[in-house]
Protein backbone atom coordinates (compact mmCIF):
# COMPACT_ATOMS: atom_id res chain seq x y z
CA UNK A 1 0.00 0.00 0.00
CA UNK A 2 1.37 3.34 -1.06
CA UNK A 3 1.77 6.24 1.35
CA UNK A 4 -1.19 8.60 1.87
CA UNK A 5 -0.95 12.07 0.40
CA UNK A 6 -0.81 15.21 2.54
CA UNK A 7 -3.77 17.66 2.30
CA UNK A 8 -1.86 20.09 0.06
CA UNK A 9 -1.05 17.32 -2.43
CA UNK A 10 -4.60 16.58 -3.56
CA UNK A 11 -7.84 18.33 -4.43
CA UNK A 12 -11.45 17.63 -3.51
CA UNK A 13 -12.06 15.90 -6.86
CA UNK A 14 -9.14 13.54 -6.10
CA UNK A 15 -10.59 12.72 -2.68
CA UNK A 16 -14.06 12.04 -4.15
CA UNK A 17 -12.63 9.92 -6.94
CA UNK A 18 -10.59 7.76 -4.54
CA UNK A 19 -13.48 7.41 -2.05
CA UNK A 20 -15.74 6.33 -4.93
CA UNK A 21 -13.14 3.92 -6.24
CA UNK A 22 -13.01 2.16 -2.86
CA UNK A 23 -16.71 1.30 -3.08
CA UNK A 24 -16.02 -1.30 -5.81
CA UNK A 25 -15.07 -4.87 -5.07
CA UNK A 26 -12.99 -7.07 -7.34
CA UNK A 27 -15.03 -9.23 -9.80
CA UNK A 28 -18.01 -6.89 -9.55
CA UNK A 29 -20.03 -5.72 -12.54
CA UNK A 30 -20.25 -1.96 -12.56
CA UNK A 31 -22.46 0.42 -14.53
CA UNK A 32 -20.42 3.51 -15.42
CA UNK A 33 -21.73 7.01 -15.95
CA UNK A 34 -19.90 9.87 -17.62
CA UNK A 35 -17.40 12.00 -15.72
CA UNK A 36 -15.80 11.47 -12.33
CA UNK A 37 -17.45 8.04 -11.83
CA UNK A 38 -15.74 6.77 -14.94
CA UNK A 39 -12.34 7.85 -13.58
CA UNK A 40 -13.18 6.25 -10.21
CA UNK A 41 -14.02 2.90 -11.80
CA UNK A 42 -10.94 2.90 -14.01
CA UNK A 43 -8.89 3.77 -10.91
CA UNK A 44 -10.33 0.73 -9.13
CA UNK A 45 -9.57 -1.39 -12.20
CA UNK A 46 -5.97 -0.15 -12.02
CA UNK A 47 -5.60 -0.78 -8.28
CA UNK A 48 -7.59 -3.14 -6.04
CA UNK A 49 -10.21 -4.45 -8.50
CA UNK A 50 -8.44 -5.58 -11.70
CA UNK A 51 -11.25 -8.04 -12.51
CA UNK A 52 -14.18 -5.65 -12.31
CA UNK A 53 -16.39 -5.61 -15.39
CA UNK A 54 -17.47 -2.29 -16.78
CA UNK A 55 -20.77 -1.62 -18.59
CA UNK A 56 -21.35 1.61 -20.47
CA UNK A 57 -25.04 2.53 -20.79
CA UNK A 58 -24.73 3.23 -24.55
CA UNK A 59 -23.91 -0.42 -25.16
CA UNK A 60 -20.31 -1.35 -24.45
CA UNK A 61 -20.02 -4.48 -22.31
CA UNK A 62 -16.92 -5.30 -20.30
CA UNK A 63 -15.00 -2.35 -21.74
CA UNK A 64 -11.35 -1.59 -21.05
CA UNK A 65 -10.79 1.81 -22.64
CA UNK A 66 -7.10 2.76 -22.96
CA UNK A 67 -7.96 6.47 -23.18
CA UNK A 68 -10.59 8.16 -21.02
CA UNK A 69 -13.98 8.39 -22.80
CA UNK A 70 -15.68 11.79 -22.58
CA UNK A 71 -19.12 10.15 -22.51
CA UNK A 72 -20.53 6.63 -22.56
CA UNK A 73 -21.32 6.97 -26.29
CA UNK A 74 -17.67 7.72 -27.04
CA UNK A 75 -15.78 5.62 -29.60
CA UNK A 76 -13.11 5.21 -26.89
CA UNK A 77 -15.43 2.99 -24.84
CA UNK A 78 -15.23 -0.08 -27.01
CA UNK A 79 -11.48 -0.56 -27.39
CA UNK A 80 -10.76 -3.91 -25.75
CA UNK A 81 -14.41 -4.59 -24.92
CA UNK A 82 -16.00 -8.02 -24.81
CA UNK A 83 -18.90 -6.75 -26.90
CA UNK A 84 -20.06 -3.47 -28.40
CA UNK A 85 -23.83 -3.43 -28.76
CA UNK A 86 -26.60 -1.07 -27.74
CA UNK A 87 -28.85 0.26 -25.01
CA UNK A 88 -31.33 -2.58 -25.24
CA UNK A 89 -28.59 -5.03 -24.28
CA UNK A 90 -27.25 -2.80 -21.52
CA UNK A 91 -30.67 -2.29 -19.90
CA UNK A 92 -31.71 -5.94 -20.30
CA UNK A 93 -28.50 -7.03 -18.61
CA UNK A 94 -29.18 -4.59 -15.80
CA UNK A 95 -32.84 -5.62 -15.39
CA UNK A 96 -31.77 -9.28 -15.46
CA UNK A 97 -29.76 -8.59 -12.32
CA UNK A 98 -26.15 -8.71 -13.42
CA UNK A 99 -25.17 -5.32 -12.06
CA UNK A 100 -23.56 -5.05 -8.63
CA UNK A 101 -22.87 -1.35 -8.49
CA UNK A 102 -23.85 1.83 -10.29
CA UNK A 103 -22.35 5.30 -9.95
CA UNK A 104 -24.69 8.23 -10.33
CA UNK A 105 -24.99 11.94 -9.68
CA UNK A 106 -27.78 14.35 -8.78
CA UNK A 107 -28.77 17.95 -8.20
CA UNK A 108 -30.70 17.26 -4.96
CA UNK A 109 -30.88 14.37 -2.48
CA UNK A 110 -33.23 13.83 0.47
CA UNK A 111 -32.83 11.96 3.77
CA UNK A 112 -34.00 8.68 2.16
CA UNK A 113 -31.57 8.91 -0.74
CA UNK A 114 -34.18 9.97 -3.28
CA UNK A 115 -32.40 11.96 -5.96
CA UNK A 116 -33.57 14.67 -8.35
CA UNK A 117 -32.03 15.42 -11.74
CA UNK A 118 -35.22 16.63 -13.44
CA UNK A 119 -36.19 20.12 -12.28
CA UNK A 120 -35.81 22.65 -9.48
CA UNK A 121 -39.15 23.81 -8.08
CA UNK A 122 -42.67 22.61 -8.92
CA UNK A 123 -42.54 20.19 -11.87
CA UNK A 124 -45.61 21.85 -13.41
CA UNK A 125 -44.05 25.31 -13.13
CA UNK A 126 -40.33 24.78 -12.62
CA UNK A 127 -37.73 27.37 -11.69
CA UNK A 128 -35.24 25.41 -13.77
CA UNK A 129 -35.61 22.38 -15.98
CA UNK A 130 -32.52 20.17 -15.71
CA UNK A 131 -31.31 17.35 -17.99
CA UNK A 132 -33.97 14.84 -16.95
CA UNK A 133 -33.55 11.33 -15.63
CA UNK A 134 -31.31 9.66 -18.18
CA UNK A 135 -30.56 6.18 -16.86
CA UNK A 136 -30.36 7.34 -13.23
CA UNK A 137 -33.61 5.65 -12.01
CA UNK A 138 -32.95 2.55 -14.11
CA UNK A 139 -29.45 1.85 -12.85
CA UNK A 140 -30.63 2.67 -9.34
CA UNK A 141 -33.62 0.31 -9.64
CA UNK A 142 -31.66 -2.59 -11.10
CA UNK A 143 -28.27 -2.54 -9.33
CA UNK A 144 -27.58 -4.06 -5.91
CA UNK A 145 -25.83 -0.88 -4.75
CA UNK A 146 -25.61 2.64 -6.03
CA UNK A 147 -23.18 5.38 -5.10
CA UNK A 148 -24.08 9.02 -5.64
CA UNK A 149 -21.39 11.62 -6.09
CA UNK A 150 -22.60 15.14 -5.36
CA UNK A 151 -21.62 18.73 -4.65
CA UNK A 152 -22.52 19.45 -1.01
CA UNK A 153 -24.61 22.56 -0.53
CA UNK A 154 -27.46 23.08 1.93
CA UNK A 155 -29.89 23.73 -0.95
CA UNK A 156 -29.03 20.29 -2.38
CA UNK A 157 -29.41 18.18 0.82
CA UNK A 158 -33.12 18.70 1.37
CA UNK A 159 -36.03 17.33 3.39
CA UNK A 160 -37.94 16.51 0.19
CA UNK A 161 -36.57 16.73 -3.31
CA UNK A 162 -38.57 18.79 -5.85
CA UNK A 163 -39.04 15.67 -7.96
CA UNK A 164 -38.03 12.07 -7.23
CA UNK A 165 -36.11 11.12 -10.36
CA UNK A 166 -34.27 8.19 -8.82
CA UNK A 167 -35.58 5.96 -6.03
CA UNK A 168 -34.06 5.97 -2.53
CA UNK A 169 -34.94 3.77 0.46
CA UNK A 170 -38.39 5.24 1.07
CA UNK A 171 -40.28 6.06 -2.11
CA UNK A 172 -43.72 7.14 -3.29
CA UNK A 173 -46.44 4.58 -3.82
CA UNK A 174 -48.77 5.60 -6.60
CA UNK A 175 -51.53 6.61 -7.20
CA UNK A 176 -51.62 8.15 -3.69
CA UNK A 177 -47.96 9.11 -3.38
CA UNK A 178 -47.55 8.01 0.27
CA UNK A 179 -44.00 7.06 1.29
CA UNK A 180 -43.31 3.33 1.67
CA UNK A 181 -40.13 1.31 2.08
CA UNK A 182 -38.53 0.49 -1.24
CA UNK A 183 -38.62 -3.23 -0.44
CA UNK A 184 -42.42 -3.15 -0.25
CA UNK A 185 -42.79 -1.58 -3.69
CA UNK A 186 -40.15 -3.55 -5.58
CA UNK A 187 -41.16 -6.98 -4.31
CA UNK A 188 -39.26 -9.74 -6.05
CA UNK A 189 -37.34 -7.11 -8.06
CA UNK A 190 -35.81 -5.65 -4.86
CA UNK A 191 -32.04 -5.98 -4.90
CA UNK A 192 -30.87 -3.08 -2.73
CA UNK A 193 -30.58 0.67 -3.10
CA UNK A 194 -28.31 3.64 -2.55
CA UNK A 195 -25.35 2.45 -0.49
CA UNK A 196 -23.40 5.70 -0.26
CA UNK A 197 -23.57 9.38 -1.06
CA UNK A 198 -20.11 10.83 -1.50
CA UNK A 199 -20.39 14.60 -1.31
CA UNK A 200 -17.78 17.32 -1.23
CA UNK A 201 -18.20 17.32 2.59
CA UNK A 202 -18.28 13.66 3.59
CA UNK A 203 -19.43 10.12 2.96
CA UNK A 204 -23.01 9.18 3.92
CA UNK A 205 -24.68 5.80 4.20
CA UNK A 206 -28.19 4.52 4.87
CA UNK A 207 -29.88 2.52 7.59
CA UNK A 208 -31.65 -0.08 5.49
CA UNK A 209 -34.44 -0.57 8.06
CA UNK A 210 -35.44 3.06 8.62
CA UNK A 211 -34.19 4.14 5.19
CA UNK A 212 -32.54 7.19 6.78
CA UNK A 213 -29.20 8.69 5.80
CA UNK A 214 -26.37 8.93 8.34
CA UNK A 215 -22.90 10.43 8.26
CA UNK A 216 -20.19 7.80 7.89
CA UNK A 217 -16.97 9.78 7.46
CA UNK A 218 -16.05 13.48 7.31
CA UNK A 219 -13.67 14.74 4.69
CA UNK A 220 -10.42 16.06 6.24
CA UNK A 221 -11.00 19.46 7.86
CA UNK A 222 -14.78 19.05 8.29
CA UNK A 223 -16.58 18.32 11.58
CA UNK A 224 -19.80 16.27 11.96
CA UNK A 225 -21.68 19.31 13.33
CA UNK A 226 -20.60 21.44 10.36
CA UNK A 227 -21.81 18.78 7.97
CA UNK A 228 -25.13 18.43 9.80
CA UNK A 229 -25.58 22.18 9.36
CA UNK A 230 -25.13 21.69 5.63
CA UNK A 231 -28.30 19.57 5.48
CA UNK A 232 -31.92 20.80 5.62
CA UNK A 233 -32.96 17.59 7.41
CA UNK A 234 -31.77 16.36 10.80
CA UNK A 235 -28.75 14.31 9.76
CA UNK A 236 -27.80 11.41 12.03
CA UNK A 237 -24.16 12.01 13.07
CA UNK A 238 -24.09 9.41 15.85
CA UNK A 239 -22.41 6.74 13.72
CA UNK A 240 -19.43 8.70 12.37
CA UNK A 241 -16.37 6.49 11.98
CA UNK A 242 -13.83 9.30 11.50
CA UNK A 243 -12.17 10.91 8.52
CA UNK A 244 -12.51 9.91 4.86
CA UNK A 245 -9.28 8.14 3.90
CA UNK A 246 -6.98 10.44 1.91
CA UNK A 247 -5.79 9.41 -1.57
CA UNK A 248 -2.52 7.51 -1.75
CA UNK A 249 0.37 8.86 -3.81
CA UNK A 250 -0.04 5.88 -6.12
CA UNK A 251 -3.75 6.62 -6.66
CA UNK A 252 -2.91 10.25 -7.48
CA UNK A 253 -0.23 9.12 -9.93
CA UNK A 254 -2.69 6.81 -11.72
CA UNK A 255 -5.40 9.50 -11.89
CA UNK A 256 -3.17 12.24 -13.25
CA UNK A 257 -0.55 10.37 -15.26
CA UNK A 258 -2.50 7.40 -16.61
CA UNK A 259 -6.25 8.04 -16.56
CA UNK A 260 -6.87 11.76 -16.94
CA UNK A 261 -3.60 13.47 -17.91
CA UNK A 262 -5.53 16.11 -19.88
CA UNK A 263 -7.61 17.07 -16.78
CA UNK A 264 -10.88 16.40 -18.59
CA UNK A 265 -12.72 15.50 -15.39
CA UNK A 266 -10.18 15.84 -12.55
CA UNK A 267 -8.07 19.00 -12.27
CA UNK A 268 -4.53 18.72 -10.97
CA UNK A 269 -3.70 20.50 -7.74
CA UNK A 270 -1.33 23.37 -8.36
CA UNK A 271 1.47 23.07 -5.83
CA UNK A 272 3.70 26.05 -5.17
Amino acid sequence: MSEHAQPEQYGLADLLCCAASREVGNNEIVFAGTGLPMVAILLAQNTHAPNLKLIFEAGTLDGRPPELPTSVGDARCEMGASRASGLYDAFCIAQRGYVDLGYLGGAEVDQYGNVNTTCIGDYLDPELRLTGSGGNPDINSFARRTVFIMVHEKRRFVENVSYITSPGWRVKKWPGGEFVHRRELYGAAFRGGPSAVISTAGVFRFDEVTGLMYLDTCHPGKTPAEIRDLCQFDLDISRVKGETVAPTLEELRIIHEVLDPDEIFIPKVKTA
Partner: protein, 322 residues
Protein backbone atom coordinates in the same frame (compact mmCIF):
# COMPACT_ATOMS: atom_id res chain seq x y z
CA UNK B 1 -40.57 -2.08 -58.07
CA UNK B 2 -37.80 0.48 -58.12
CA UNK B 3 -34.94 -0.25 -55.81
CA UNK B 4 -33.59 3.29 -56.10
CA UNK B 5 -33.92 4.78 -52.65
CA UNK B 6 -31.60 7.75 -53.15
CA UNK B 7 -32.88 11.20 -52.27
CA UNK B 8 -31.29 14.59 -51.66
CA UNK B 9 -30.75 16.31 -48.32
CA UNK B 10 -33.46 18.81 -49.19
CA UNK B 11 -35.91 16.03 -50.10
CA UNK B 12 -35.11 14.16 -46.87
CA UNK B 13 -36.23 17.19 -44.88
CA UNK B 14 -39.32 17.62 -47.08
CA UNK B 15 -40.51 14.08 -46.30
CA UNK B 16 -40.81 15.23 -42.68
CA UNK B 17 -44.02 17.26 -42.51
CA UNK B 18 -45.18 19.82 -39.97
CA UNK B 19 -46.63 17.81 -37.08
CA UNK B 20 -44.70 14.60 -37.84
CA UNK B 21 -43.40 12.47 -35.01
CA UNK B 22 -39.67 11.87 -35.27
CA UNK B 23 -36.92 9.82 -33.72
CA UNK B 24 -33.19 9.56 -34.40
CA UNK B 25 -30.14 7.34 -34.53
CA UNK B 26 -27.21 7.81 -32.16
CA UNK B 27 -26.62 8.58 -28.52
CA UNK B 28 -26.48 12.06 -26.89
CA UNK B 29 -23.62 13.64 -28.90
CA UNK B 30 -22.78 10.71 -31.18
CA UNK B 31 -24.07 9.90 -34.69
CA UNK B 32 -26.92 12.40 -34.80
CA UNK B 33 -28.30 13.32 -38.27
CA UNK B 34 -27.28 16.96 -37.96
CA UNK B 35 -27.24 17.84 -41.68
CA UNK B 36 -30.94 16.88 -41.93
CA UNK B 37 -31.69 18.67 -38.65
CA UNK B 38 -30.12 21.86 -40.02
CA UNK B 39 -32.13 21.47 -43.25
CA UNK B 40 -35.36 21.10 -41.22
CA UNK B 41 -34.51 24.37 -39.49
CA UNK B 42 -33.85 26.07 -42.85
CA UNK B 43 -37.24 24.81 -44.07
CA UNK B 44 -38.91 26.19 -40.91
CA UNK B 45 -40.57 22.88 -39.98
CA UNK B 46 -42.97 23.28 -37.04
CA UNK B 47 -45.09 21.31 -34.52
CA UNK B 48 -42.78 18.29 -34.53
CA UNK B 49 -43.28 15.62 -31.87
CA UNK B 50 -39.91 14.14 -30.90
CA UNK B 51 -40.01 10.69 -29.31
CA UNK B 52 -36.46 9.79 -28.39
CA UNK B 53 -34.67 7.17 -26.32
CA UNK B 54 -32.63 10.16 -25.19
CA UNK B 55 -32.03 13.64 -26.57
CA UNK B 56 -28.83 15.46 -27.39
CA UNK B 57 -27.39 18.33 -29.38
CA UNK B 58 -29.76 17.74 -32.31
CA UNK B 59 -32.74 18.12 -29.92
CA UNK B 60 -31.38 21.41 -28.69
CA UNK B 61 -31.05 22.77 -32.23
CA UNK B 62 -34.60 21.75 -33.20
CA UNK B 63 -36.11 23.00 -29.93
CA UNK B 64 -34.19 26.29 -30.04
CA UNK B 65 -35.38 26.91 -33.60
CA UNK B 66 -39.01 26.48 -32.55
CA UNK B 67 -39.57 23.32 -34.61
CA UNK B 68 -40.79 21.19 -31.67
CA UNK B 69 -44.15 21.19 -29.85
CA UNK B 70 -43.77 17.92 -27.90
CA UNK B 71 -40.64 16.26 -26.55
CA UNK B 72 -41.10 12.78 -25.13
CA UNK B 73 -37.88 11.36 -23.72
CA UNK B 74 -35.63 11.25 -20.66
CA UNK B 75 -32.52 13.41 -21.03
CA UNK B 76 -31.13 16.30 -22.98
CA UNK B 77 -27.75 18.04 -22.91
CA UNK B 78 -24.36 18.05 -24.58
CA UNK B 79 -22.52 15.75 -22.12
CA UNK B 80 -19.41 17.56 -20.81
CA UNK B 81 -19.73 20.34 -23.41
CA UNK B 82 -22.99 21.71 -22.00
CA UNK B 83 -24.46 20.43 -18.77
CA UNK B 84 -28.14 20.73 -19.62
CA UNK B 85 -30.42 21.55 -22.52
CA UNK B 86 -30.57 25.33 -22.33
CA UNK B 87 -33.11 25.65 -25.15
CA UNK B 88 -35.44 23.02 -23.74
CA UNK B 89 -35.18 24.61 -20.27
CA UNK B 90 -36.08 28.00 -21.68
CA UNK B 91 -39.08 26.66 -23.64
CA UNK B 92 -40.28 24.72 -20.58
CA UNK B 93 -40.11 27.90 -18.46
CA UNK B 94 -42.02 29.80 -21.16
CA UNK B 95 -44.52 26.88 -21.46
CA UNK B 96 -43.89 26.72 -25.20
CA UNK B 97 -43.27 22.97 -25.24
CA UNK B 98 -44.88 19.86 -23.77
CA UNK B 99 -42.35 17.58 -22.09
CA UNK B 100 -43.32 13.99 -21.29
CA UNK B 101 -40.73 12.33 -19.02
CA UNK B 102 -40.03 8.62 -18.99
CA UNK B 103 -36.88 6.88 -17.72
CA UNK B 104 -34.11 5.91 -20.12
CA UNK B 105 -34.81 2.16 -19.89
CA UNK B 106 -38.53 2.82 -20.27
CA UNK B 107 -37.93 4.75 -23.50
CA UNK B 108 -35.68 1.96 -24.77
CA UNK B 109 -38.26 -0.70 -23.90
CA UNK B 110 -41.03 1.40 -25.52
CA UNK B 111 -39.08 1.34 -28.78
CA UNK B 112 -38.31 -2.38 -28.42
CA UNK B 113 -42.07 -2.99 -28.02
CA UNK B 114 -42.90 -0.93 -31.11
CA UNK B 115 -40.13 -2.70 -33.05
CA UNK B 116 -41.60 -6.11 -32.21
CA UNK B 117 -45.17 -5.07 -33.00
CA UNK B 118 -46.25 -5.32 -29.36
CA UNK B 119 -48.60 -2.67 -27.97
CA UNK B 120 -46.65 -2.27 -24.74
CA UNK B 121 -43.66 -3.41 -22.73
CA UNK B 122 -43.43 -4.48 -19.10
CA UNK B 123 -40.67 -3.46 -16.71
CA UNK B 124 -39.84 -2.95 -13.04
CA UNK B 125 -37.80 0.22 -13.36
CA UNK B 126 -38.25 3.61 -11.72
CA UNK B 127 -40.90 2.34 -9.26
CA UNK B 128 -41.64 4.91 -6.55
CA UNK B 129 -40.42 7.91 -8.52
CA UNK B 130 -42.24 11.01 -9.73
CA UNK B 131 -41.82 9.73 -13.29
CA UNK B 132 -44.87 7.61 -12.40
CA UNK B 133 -46.73 10.46 -10.66
CA UNK B 134 -50.22 10.48 -12.27
CA UNK B 135 -50.35 14.29 -11.93
CA UNK B 136 -47.38 14.53 -14.29
CA UNK B 137 -48.98 12.93 -17.34
CA UNK B 138 -48.40 15.95 -19.57
CA UNK B 139 -49.87 14.60 -22.81
CA UNK B 140 -52.96 13.60 -20.80
CA UNK B 141 -53.19 17.09 -19.28
CA UNK B 142 -53.02 18.53 -22.80
CA UNK B 143 -55.87 16.24 -23.91
CA UNK B 144 -53.72 14.55 -26.54
CA UNK B 145 -54.11 10.92 -25.46
CA UNK B 146 -56.36 9.75 -28.31
CA UNK B 147 -55.30 6.08 -28.23
CA UNK B 148 -54.19 6.24 -31.85
CA UNK B 149 -50.57 7.38 -32.18
CA UNK B 150 -50.46 8.66 -28.62
CA UNK B 151 -51.35 6.00 -26.05
CA UNK B 152 -54.51 6.31 -23.93
CA UNK B 153 -52.41 6.20 -20.75
CA UNK B 154 -48.85 7.19 -19.88
CA UNK B 155 -48.56 4.08 -17.68
CA UNK B 156 -50.55 1.22 -16.31
CA UNK B 157 -49.58 -0.71 -13.20
CA UNK B 158 -50.21 -4.39 -12.75
CA UNK B 159 -49.13 -7.35 -10.65
CA UNK B 160 -47.13 -10.13 -12.29
CA UNK B 161 -49.85 -12.69 -13.22
CA UNK B 162 -47.36 -15.52 -13.88
CA UNK B 163 -44.73 -15.73 -11.16
CA UNK B 164 -46.03 -13.42 -8.44
CA UNK B 165 -43.06 -11.09 -8.86
CA UNK B 166 -45.02 -8.06 -7.66
CA UNK B 167 -45.54 -4.60 -9.15
CA UNK B 168 -44.98 -4.20 -12.86
CA UNK B 169 -45.16 -1.09 -15.01
CA UNK B 170 -46.73 -1.30 -18.45
CA UNK B 171 -45.42 1.29 -20.88
CA UNK B 172 -46.89 2.00 -24.33
CA UNK B 173 -45.04 1.20 -27.55
CA UNK B 174 -43.33 4.23 -29.09
CA UNK B 175 -45.33 4.71 -32.27
CA UNK B 176 -43.39 7.10 -34.44
CA UNK B 177 -43.77 8.33 -38.03
CA UNK B 178 -40.17 8.76 -39.12
CA UNK B 179 -36.73 7.62 -37.97
CA UNK B 180 -33.87 9.81 -39.18
CA UNK B 181 -30.60 7.92 -39.05
CA UNK B 182 -26.96 8.83 -39.50
CA UNK B 183 -24.55 5.91 -40.02
CA UNK B 184 -21.21 5.00 -41.55
CA UNK B 185 -22.38 2.90 -44.51
CA UNK B 186 -25.58 2.13 -46.35
CA UNK B 187 -25.95 -0.07 -49.44
CA UNK B 188 -27.84 0.98 -52.56
CA UNK B 189 -30.81 -1.15 -51.46
CA UNK B 190 -30.79 0.12 -47.88
CA UNK B 191 -28.74 -2.42 -45.92
CA UNK B 192 -27.05 -0.55 -43.06
CA UNK B 193 -23.71 -1.32 -41.46
CA UNK B 194 -23.07 0.54 -38.24
CA UNK B 195 -19.57 0.37 -36.80
CA UNK B 196 -19.08 0.59 -33.05
CA UNK B 197 -21.89 0.75 -30.50
CA UNK B 198 -25.19 0.72 -32.36
CA UNK B 199 -27.02 2.42 -29.46
CA UNK B 200 -30.78 2.02 -30.14
CA UNK B 201 -30.56 2.18 -33.94
CA UNK B 202 -31.96 -1.30 -34.78
CA UNK B 203 -35.09 -0.82 -32.65
CA UNK B 204 -35.64 2.78 -33.75
CA UNK B 205 -35.39 1.94 -37.48
CA UNK B 206 -37.79 -0.98 -37.12
CA UNK B 207 -40.29 0.94 -34.97
CA UNK B 208 -40.74 3.90 -37.34
CA UNK B 209 -43.16 3.85 -40.29
CA UNK B 210 -40.60 5.57 -42.53
CA UNK B 211 -36.85 5.24 -42.12
CA UNK B 212 -34.44 7.71 -43.73
CA UNK B 213 -30.76 6.77 -43.64
CA UNK B 214 -28.07 9.37 -44.18
CA UNK B 215 -24.64 7.76 -44.49
CA UNK B 216 -21.04 8.86 -44.70
CA UNK B 217 -20.96 6.75 -47.84
CA UNK B 218 -23.31 4.76 -50.04
CA UNK B 219 -21.51 1.53 -50.89
CA UNK B 220 -22.33 -1.26 -53.35
CA UNK B 221 -25.03 -3.43 -51.80
CA UNK B 222 -23.07 -6.50 -52.88
CA UNK B 223 -20.11 -5.39 -50.74
CA UNK B 224 -22.27 -5.39 -47.57
CA UNK B 225 -23.90 -8.72 -48.47
CA UNK B 226 -20.53 -10.49 -48.58
CA UNK B 227 -20.51 -10.27 -44.76
CA UNK B 228 -24.19 -10.15 -43.85
CA UNK B 229 -23.40 -11.03 -40.22
CA UNK B 230 -21.78 -7.60 -39.82
CA UNK B 231 -24.84 -5.64 -40.95
CA UNK B 232 -27.10 -3.81 -38.50
CA UNK B 233 -30.35 -2.95 -40.29
CA UNK B 234 -32.06 -4.96 -43.02
CA UNK B 235 -32.56 -3.43 -46.50
CA UNK B 236 -36.36 -3.45 -46.53
CA UNK B 237 -36.65 -1.54 -43.26
CA UNK B 238 -35.04 1.44 -44.97
CA UNK B 239 -37.15 3.64 -47.26
CA UNK B 240 -34.79 6.42 -48.30
CA UNK B 241 -31.02 6.80 -48.42
CA UNK B 242 -28.62 9.66 -48.97
CA UNK B 243 -24.88 10.18 -48.87
CA UNK B 244 -23.70 13.10 -46.77
CA UNK B 245 -20.09 13.06 -45.57
CA UNK B 246 -19.64 14.66 -42.13
CA UNK B 247 -23.42 14.76 -41.85
CA UNK B 248 -23.21 14.10 -38.10
CA UNK B 249 -20.96 17.09 -37.33
CA UNK B 250 -20.73 18.56 -34.64
CA UNK B 251 -21.64 15.17 -33.12
CA UNK B 252 -19.14 12.33 -33.57
CA UNK B 253 -19.04 9.13 -35.57
CA UNK B 254 -17.17 5.98 -34.52
CA UNK B 255 -14.26 5.27 -36.83
CA UNK B 256 -14.71 8.49 -38.81
CA UNK B 257 -14.53 11.60 -36.62
CA UNK B 258 -14.77 12.70 -33.01
CA UNK B 259 -17.30 15.02 -31.39
CA UNK B 260 -16.45 18.68 -32.10
CA UNK B 261 -16.42 19.68 -28.43
CA UNK B 262 -15.47 23.32 -28.98
CA UNK B 263 -18.35 23.74 -31.44
CA UNK B 264 -20.85 22.28 -28.95
CA UNK B 265 -19.43 24.29 -26.07
CA UNK B 266 -19.82 27.49 -28.07
CA UNK B 267 -23.36 26.53 -29.13
CA UNK B 268 -24.32 25.73 -25.53
CA UNK B 269 -22.92 29.03 -24.29
CA UNK B 270 -24.55 31.13 -26.98
CA UNK B 271 -27.90 29.30 -26.99
CA UNK B 272 -28.66 30.11 -23.36
CA UNK B 273 -30.77 33.00 -24.64
CA UNK B 274 -33.11 32.96 -27.64
CA UNK B 275 -31.23 35.89 -29.16
CA UNK B 276 -28.00 33.95 -28.81
CA UNK B 277 -29.56 30.88 -30.43
CA UNK B 278 -30.92 32.95 -33.34
CA UNK B 279 -27.55 34.57 -33.81
CA UNK B 280 -25.83 31.17 -33.87
CA UNK B 281 -28.42 29.80 -36.33
CA UNK B 282 -27.96 32.81 -38.60
CA UNK B 283 -24.24 32.22 -38.60
CA UNK B 284 -24.17 28.44 -39.10
CA UNK B 285 -27.54 27.30 -40.51
CA UNK B 286 -29.63 29.91 -42.37
CA UNK B 287 -28.26 30.87 -45.76
CA UNK B 288 -25.92 27.89 -45.72
CA UNK B 289 -26.02 24.46 -47.31
CA UNK B 290 -24.05 21.39 -46.24
CA UNK B 291 -21.07 22.19 -48.49
CA UNK B 292 -20.82 25.82 -47.43
CA UNK B 293 -21.11 24.68 -43.80
CA UNK B 294 -18.16 22.33 -44.28
CA UNK B 295 -16.22 25.06 -46.05
CA UNK B 296 -16.86 27.38 -43.13
CA UNK B 297 -15.59 24.74 -40.70
CA UNK B 298 -12.47 24.28 -42.83
CA UNK B 299 -10.03 21.45 -43.41
CA UNK B 300 -7.73 21.96 -40.39
CA UNK B 301 -10.65 21.70 -37.97
CA UNK B 302 -12.03 18.57 -39.64
CA UNK B 303 -8.59 16.92 -39.84
CA UNK B 304 -8.16 17.51 -36.15
CA UNK B 305 -11.37 15.53 -35.53
CA UNK B 306 -10.49 12.73 -37.94
CA UNK B 307 -10.41 9.30 -36.30
CA UNK B 308 -7.34 7.11 -36.40
CA UNK B 309 -8.43 4.14 -38.51
CA UNK B 310 -6.88 1.58 -36.16
CA UNK B 311 -8.28 3.12 -32.96
CA UNK B 312 -11.59 4.50 -34.30
CA UNK B 313 -11.18 7.81 -32.47
CA UNK B 314 -8.84 10.80 -32.71
CA UNK B 315 -6.19 10.19 -30.05
CA UNK B 316 -5.65 13.22 -27.84
CA UNK B 317 -1.90 12.77 -27.57
CA UNK B 318 -1.12 13.53 -31.22
CA UNK B 319 -2.96 16.81 -30.84
CA UNK B 320 -0.98 17.81 -27.75
CA UNK B 321 -3.74 17.35 -25.19
CA UNK B 322 -7.06 19.15 -25.06
Amino acid sequence: MSTDKRITLQHAAEIIKDGSSLTFSGFTIWRRPMAIVFELIRQHRTQLHLIEVQGGSHTEFLVGAGCVDIWESCWVGHELYGKYGANLSRKVAEKKIIVEDYSHAEMMFRFAAAASGAPYAVTQTALGTDIHNPEYDMLGRAGLRDGKRIAKHKYQFTEDPFFGAGSQVLIPAAKVDIAVMCVQQVGEEGTVRVNGQYYSDPEVARAADITIVMAEEIVPEEYLRRNADQNTIVSFEVDHILECPYGAHPTGMFGRYDVDGSFLKEFYGRSRTQEGFDDFANEWIHGQNHMSYLEKLGWPRMLNLKANSAMNYAPREKKGGK
